[in-house]
């Protein structure tokens, strides 16, 4: 009984130490990537390719999510606000929810699902097929060649995707509020104009940049250090998506609490 207890405590300790080590490795990885931002050569073609992959090819899913998020928000908001006779506040409610929270968070989650998982799988396969080692042997730093453009693309593209999400989401709310529920468009947009401040937009953009960093950092790290063949790739991909999604929500809370 005593030895079982000791074993149990040892396992907890080992898991804890492993997690600390993993965190340390992740931060060192991020530090190396940050240093490589300012180290030549700068591969603009690679960066553009990644912007296209992470950003342009996520546009459809972002637009689809945004329009339905705006519509459901307007629908729910309308029935809640109408109980208090405050239907006129529907526009600001939809816009602020989207600009401050839903835009960056849902964009982050969608990019994680669509592009983040692909980044991890691609890098994982490159790792297990020794393509990353091949780069190393050729004297081409794999971190600079493979990771830097992906993280840079995430930082550049996420705010743009978030802005697109915000605009389409507000238009989705407009469709439901004005076209379906008969609210006047002046009331809807007028309320938004008077309620939304620059600070709200900046908060949303800060979040989106942070989420862009989280998604690309976690997903590339997990892919880059994939081990144990095909099963390892699948584990890395799952773990990258789960960790990115959780970190986005955790980070969202802390940024909100700081920026409020």
């Amino acid at each position: 009984m005593f030895s079982q207890t000791i074993d149990f405590i040892q396992k907890i300790g080992a898991t804890f130490l492993e997690n600390i080590q993993e965190m340390g490795r992740m931060f060192l990885f991020l530090w190396d990537v940050a240093l490589s931002f300012v180290t030549p050569p700068f591969r603009w073609t690679n960066l553009l390719k990644q912007i296209h992959f992470i950003g342009i090819r996520s546009l459809f899913v972002i637009a689809l999510t945004a329009i339905f998020a705006g519509m459901v928000l307007a629908l729910q908001g309308y029935y809640t606000l109408s109980r208090f006779g405050s239907e006129a506040l529907l526009g600001p409610a939809v816009a602020l929810s989207i600009i401050r929270e839903l835009g960056p968070v849902l964009s982050g989650l969608m990019v994680t699902g669509r592009a983040g998982s692909a980044l991890t799988a691609e890098l994982g396969i490159m790792r297990i097929r020794e393509q990353i080692d091949a780069l190393d042997v050729m004297g081409i730093p794999p971190l600079k060649y493979l990771i830097t453009p992906r993280v840079e693309a995430g930082l550049i593209i996420m705010p743009l995707l978030t802005v697109i999400f915000d605009v389409i989401g507000i238009l989705g709310g407009y469709l439901v509020a004005v076209r379906l529920l008969g609210m006047s468009s002046g009331t809807y947009f007028g309320g938004i104009e008077s309620a939304v401040e620059m600070r709200d937009i900046v908060t949303g953009l800060i979040k989106s940049v942070s989420f862009g960093l989280i998604v690309t950092w976690v997903c590339t790290y997990k892919g880059y250090y994939t081990r144990r063949g095909a099963e390892g790739v699948s584990q890395s991909t799952t773990s990258a998506v789960v960790m990115s999604s959780v970190l986005i929500l955790v980070c969202d809370y802390f940024i909100t609490s700081i920026m409020l």
């Binding site: 490159m126 097929r129 020794e130 042997v137 050729m138």
Partner: protein, 342 residues
Amino acid sequence: MTGQAIYMDSSLAGGTTLSLGRQLVANGCVTENQLDRALRKQQNDHPTAGNNEHLVGRTLVDLGYISQSALLDCLFSQFSREREAYRADTGETPIIHLKQVVKILDGRRVLDAIDIAIPAKRVTAIIGMSGGGKSVILKHMVGLMRPTQGEVRVGEHLLGALSPRQLAQVRRRFSFLFQGGALFDSLNVYDNVAFPLREKTDWSESVIHDRVMRCLEEVNLFGMERKFPDELSGGMMKRAALARALVTDPEILLLDEPTAGLDPIIENAIHYLICDTYMRTRYTMVIISHAVPEIFRWCHHVIALHKGKVLFSGPSTEIGQSRNPVIRQFISGDIDGPIQVI
């Protein structure tokens, strides 16, 4: 370039060897006149190819002066003579030296205080059981892995003491043919072979094109340049990877099981290709192979590993006389013996 350029002898440590053209003439495979004509044709057809001996052989084949197999046989017989003349104890400084290297992976002692010296400008084969640490040795040589204990030297450089920039410089001396080829899936054969040149040189695209096409021709992949790795057979994949390894004109070529998983005919073709490459370039080559005892015909020096230790290191002509029961079993492939697998 005149026809004489190709006749120039190239000196090699431990002796003097003849250029390919001269060897072919000396071995009676072709006449002086035929070689002259082939050189003139090569100069017309490939004015940018320079002193490329391989193309001479190819041109002789194209002109019908010699068959492809006869050309390869001629090269092989020359290589065999060199192999038989090779002696390990010449006192030359090895180009790569692993001293007392220990490597522990996941708690397992994969390399157990091994000493390995790779002779310069020779073909060295590393043989041993699967999981015996052969690939680990290759990765130590190029700095992809660091020893738990001991040191790895490449020339005068101690790898463990180098900065990342210095290590990258040392790595420029190497090319590595990985077991699975490690071709980039998103690039076609041409772009895969051109990749190291585009990334590491400031050469113009036309110069890169000439070099890439020449390498593809050398590995008999001419016409396959637009194919992607997933459209290639195992043998073609290995040849494309070999072309990528050769395109940078390395000093040291590491080949990790270049014939693994290939049928005997392709395996033989790859061996001939490696021999052909060696005869033309005189690179230092290190080959990991399970093709025992065939591989002994294709290398000067053999290193046999077992359980993380070196059992034999010496000329390939001497390994057959080894009385070590593990080596004897490994060569004969018997199930009975000190290595029990069933």
